[in-house]
């Protein structure tokens, strides 16, 4: 599948707070922007793939969104995979286009947990609530603890990720949080579910995002010059309960990346820029190691030594990631990856030829990877 599909356009809303607006309105706004970016008409779209809204899962959601877009597409669906769903949907779109099921797809997402309900992120976790086991963050705290203990990883190692993402996000006026932090700020931020500090945790944001997927051939035919080729993609899944996983410090992100690298015919050393799902700082460190971008136990020191900075060996989350641009799950990372490959990112990495994007969902339950290349 290497290079067969392209992302021909990207669009999103302002990220942050959208009081009084519903999530489907945000999706429609993002899709309108993505279609305009691609320079195509709405009625050319015959696929609508939507990530399930975290804050309000609902049945036949893909069809509900298609209705608001005024479309009766050939292919329509919503996917429940938490934050991995966006890249997963782009890969399904790529394959469905290749198989002839559809021609042009919108992959989209929108939600309003910031001004609506964020209860989903604070909910009791099954029968273990009797022990006080609540909130999405708790699973990550359990993983953070195991990882930090195993590799003698210091708080400064996690802090380096937060400081870098917040610095990049500070340059992004469309992002949710434009406030850089110092390592001291990080160290002083309050403990929520120890070992997680407040600044280890991503934002909760309202917002919508969308991308247009079609074949490279179709993009060429339509004269879309800056369509970004999808070089590779993959997925990996964990079990439901964090505590039932045999290993807390390695994840199926490794399988996801391995599949994507093989499809792309690339190796970790070939990656120029990374947009890694930073719902929590430990997620970035684990992903770097699972992807083979860092040796086991070395992602923390790598971050602390500046490798993830804009002038480092692997610039990270150049628009701010979930820690600063938007807590919305995943598509903002894809969009920034597309911009880096087109060369029109706000904090452009000069000469970047490849970008890896990670999505993951739940408490590292689901993993999806995508590798993007320069427009040909």
């Amino acid at each position: 599948m290497r290079g067969k599909a392209v992302i021909a356009g990207v669009g999103h809303t302002i990220y942050g707070k959208h009081p009084g607006r519903d999530r489907i309105s945000l999706i429609v706004e993002a899709c309108r922007n993505a279609l305009q970016d691609a320079g195509i008409e709405k009625d050319m779209v015959d696929g609508v793939l939507v990530k399930m809204a975290n804050s309000e899962p609902s049945i036949l959601y893909g069809q509900k969104v298609a209705e608001a877009l005024g479309l009766q597409p050939r292919v329509g669906a919503s996917l429940d995979q938490g934050g991995a769903a966006n890249i997963a949907l782009i890969s399904y779109a790529a394959m469905a286009v290749d198989a002839g099921l559809m021609d042009i797809a919108l992959v989209c997402y929108g939600d309003t947990p910031r001004t609506g309900s964020r209860q989903v992120y604070h909910r009791p976790r099954g029968d273990d609530a009797v022990f006080g086991w609540y909130a999405t963050a708790a699973g990550y705290a359990m993983i953070h603890q195991a990882y930090a203990q195993k590799h003698a990883c210091r708080p400064e190692h996690f802090g380096a990720v937060a400081v870098q993402c917040r610095a990049n996000g500070a340059e992004n006026p469309q992002g949710h949080l434009n406030k850089p932090i110092t390592l001291d700020d990080y160290m002083e931020s309050p403990l929520l579910i120890e070992p997680l500090r407040r600044d280890d945790c991503c934002l909760i944001s309202d917002g919508g995002a969308a991308v247009v997927v079609m074949s490279a051939e179709r993009a060429k035919q339509l004269g879309i010059a800056n369509a970004v080729p999808v070089l590779g993609f993959g997925q990996g899944q964990e079990s439901w309960d964090v505590h039932l996983r045999p290993n807390l410090t390695e994840t199926s992100a490794a399988a996801s990346a391995d599949t994507a690298f093989k499809m792309a015919g690339l190796e970790p050393g070939n990656i120029d820029v990374a947009q890694l799902y930073d719902c929590f700082t430990v997620t970035v460190l684990l992903t770097l190691e699972d992807y083979g971008l860092a040796k086991r136990g070395q992602a923390g020191p790598m971050a602390a030594q500046g490798a993830l900075a804009l002038d480092g060996s692997l610039p990270l989350n150049t628009s701010g990631g979930l820690l600063s641009e938007s807590g919305t799950p995943g598509l903002q990372l894809v969009i920034e990856g597309v911009r880096q490959m087109r060369g029109d990112a706000r904090l452009q990495i000069e000469g970047a030829k490849t970008c890896i994007v990670s999505n993951q969902g739940g408490s590292m339950h689901t993993h999806a990877t995508m590798i993007l290349g320069n427009p040909s």
Binding site: D128, V130, G132, A146, L192, I193, E194, P195, H243
Partner: protein
Amino acid sequence: MSFPAPETNDLNRPYWDGLAAGELRHQHCSNCGNNWLPAREACPRCLATDPVWQPASGRGRIVSWVVYHKAYHNAFADRVPYDVSLVELDEGPRLLTNIVDSDAGRALSIGALVELKIEREGDLTLARFRLVSDEGTA
């Protein structure tokens, strides 16, 4: 504010009845020897049905833990900071629990030995654990 209650059903009732009777039970597969929690109708390793319930020794080790500094439910508001710990039993099953003498997590470490300490919590009987000294380790 009411304490959260587990959902009991025919499948997991032997677990809760076991605790009320003073023992921690896990499921065991007679076909492949697998031991696990929580309750399932079929063995998650070989998919054989009709697992049996067996009492656990009550001994295990800490795999990881967290300490809540914020209560996400009012029932825990006067307990913060409190630990939630992941314990692997000697027989293999993993479970979440509280370590009663954890000193808000400060006494905990990965690999630390623990033993069962069944406690009443209102109408519930819960499998909590306490730290044991290392006299058993070689």
